[in-house]
């Protein structure tokens, strides 16, 4: 990574920390501790399943909300507040700014996920008293969650490069919801006829396939995850992220900063 991208990424991370974004971890810790205690008291034999499901879903949702709400302001806020002027008047290329911002946000989310993962394992230990070999599957689910975050960060940046924060939030959140049902959309496309089929198929392949990246239920039921799925999901997420970031760069490269 070149120095300028690293500097922009570090500054983005610092902004998130100083703006107390990571305070969400306190809410997360509270939620998970409460749930673990409650589940331990009311569930019989399925404590682990409930804790893993609840914990990983919370990690995913907290991260998505942070990714969208920070991501949508990454470019537009800098334009609006004119902080960008003193950055781009230096030997910083516009693509470096976008990529730096992306890595900064991705880094913030990675740290966030790491801290929340400790919480999940803590809650698991509380209800199960010891770890089992199958619990290592949680790492795969967490890895897929991070892949989801990369896609959402890049989409939020893409929208932020041309629209207002409010519209960007609407677009990004809509895509997240639609993408979470991508498999259902593909199923619907196979059943539809004519133009509807074309539109449904096109949409299904265009929106990010978050349902393929969601293995929380399988992990909670201790079902194995194939290496092939890990490879496919990794390549898919990286490709989708690269495409969305390229779009953001192409748009931002032509934008007049009035």
């Amino acid at each position: 990574m070149n120095t300028r991208i690293y500097s922009i990424a570090s500054n983005t991370f610092r902004e998130a920390v100083r703006d107390r974004v990571l305070y969400n971890l306190i809410a997360f810790a509270g939620l998970l501790s409460g749930a673990a205690i409650l589940v331990g008291q009311i569930s019989i034999d399925i404590e682990k399943l409930v804790v893993i499901n609840l914990g990983l879903t919370a990690v995913s949702l907290f991260g998505v909300v942070i990714a969208i709400f920070i991501g949508i302001g990454l470019v537009s806020k800098e334009i609006e507040k004119r902080t960008l002027y003193t950055v781009l008047s230096r030997p910083v290329r516009r693509w470096e700014f976008i990529v730096g911002k992306f890595f900064g946000l991705a880094g913030t989310l990675a740290v966030n996920t790491f801290c929340m993962a400790i919480g999940v394992f803590g809650a698991l230990l509380y209800v199960a008293h010891r770890f089992a070999g199958a619990d290592s599957l949680i790492f795969v689910a967490l890895y897929f969650i991070v892949l989801q975050f990369l896609i959402i960060c890049s989409l939020a940046l893409l929208f932020s490069s041309f629209s207002s924060p409010l519209l960007s939030a609407v677009f990004a959140f809509s895509l997240y919801v639609i993408g979470s049902f991508a498999d259902d959309l593909r199923g619907f496309a196979t059943l539809a006829q004519g133009v509807t089929r074309w539109i449904a198929t096109g949409t299904a392949y265009l929106v990010p396939n978050f349902s393929a990246l969601n293995v929380i239920s399988s992990v909670a039921h201790q079902q194995p995850i194939s290496g092939q799925l890990i490879l496919h999901n990794t390549l898919y997420a990286l490709f989708y992220t690269a495409m969305a970031l390229s779009g953001a760069v192409l748009i931002f490269d032509r934008r007049n900063l009035k």
Binding site: S7, E15, D19, Y85, S89, R90
Partner: protein, 313 residues
């Protein structure tokens, strides 16, 4: 060598809901700024000064034209390492301290780590912010932010600095400090290009100025040329509180200010005026050729353009 050569830069924005109505922000602009000079870019609000600066900084893309900065294409990233920019009413990352912000900008400008630490301390001292270098910028006043803005613009020892309304928001003392700083920069060999609508600052500081109005260049030249003497007129200043009839008889236009009287008369009446003051036993303070102020020149250029526009309409 010209530090800046602007070769027909122009900007037209497409406005309206469908972005189909053209609005010209800057007519084709041709301008050269020599190396080492302090150049003032003058014009009323909305004249096109900031648009020009933003185009030179690569923040806004021109509709047509090009520019060369320090002998290279203005889009060349190498150029940006040698220029500094202070935007109008600057706003910075307010979660950072002044020290952190300057360190960040130093990194972006490619200043190596060891030099950067020294340079940050130097510029903080230069803009008198050393005592509060550890305070977050959200607690800074407007004037202090302007100082930070100047510090970040000169941090990497640029050969050319662009200041957009550098005196904006500063108290008289602050304005004087900025003026002194600009003169120091010039002495150090830095070219200073600054936009302003405060004419007294431009008159005090600038080697040359350009006047822009409604996106069109109205005049450019050395301050001495533009504020040149008015042919055949002199200004006589003497101590007193009244204008003697013998001076009035010479057709003088006089103004009494406290214990001083200023009179403007024809140059060929100079000897007669001196004789009259001697007869009245009044103390002569000065006789100087009458000069137009930059303000008069500026107003004349603006009025001329309005008259032309009115005639055309």
């Amino acid at each position: 060598m010209a530090a800046i050569e602007i070769l027909g830069l122009e900007k037209t924005y497409m406005v309206g809901f469908w972005r189909k109505r053209p609005k010209r922000a800057l007519q084709p602009l041709h301008l050269a700024v020599e190396d080492g000079e302090i150049f003032g870019f003058l014009g009323p609000n909305g004249a096109g000064k900031t648009t020009t600066l933003k185009m030179l900084m690569g923040l806004v893309f021109p509709t047509a034209g090009t520019a060369r900065i320090l002998g290279k294409e203005w889009t060349d990233p190498e150029v940006k390492a040698q220029i500094g920019f202070l935007p109008e009413q600057p706003y910075f990352y307010d979660y950072l301290t002044a020290h952190e912000l300057l360190d960040y900008y130093g990194q972006l400008s490619g200043v190596p780590g060891k030099d950067r630490r020294v340079r940050v301390e130097e510029v903080l001292e230069r803009v008198a912010l050393t005592d509060i270098k550890g305070v977050q910028l959200r607690k800074f006043s407007k004037g202090m932010l302007q100082r930070v803005g100047i510090a970040q613009a000169i941090l990497h020892k640029p050969k050319l600095v662009f200041f957009d309304e550098p005196m904006s928001g500063l108290d008289p003392l602050g304005r004087r400090e900025v003026r002194d700083l600009m003169l120091q920069l010039q002495q150090e060999g830095t070219t200073v290009f600054f936009s302003t609508h405060i004419l007294s600052d431009a008159e005090t500081l600038c080697d040359r100025v350009a006047i822009i109005h409604q996106g069109e260049l109205r005049g450019v030249g050395a301050v001495e040329e533009l504020t040149g003497s008015v042919e055949g007129k002199i200004e006589v200043v003497w101590q007193g509180t009244q204008v003697p009839p013998s001076i009035k008889a010479l057709g003088a236009e006089c103004h009494v200010t406290g214990e001083t009287v200023r009179g403007v008369i024809s140059a060929n009446q100079q000897d007669a005026a001196i004789d009259a003051l001697r007869r009245e036993r009044l103390r002569l303070i000065a006789i100087t050729p009458l000069r137009t102020s930059l303000e008069s020149y500026f107003v004349e250029k603006l009025q001329h353009s309005q008259t032309t526009a009115g005639t055309t309409a």
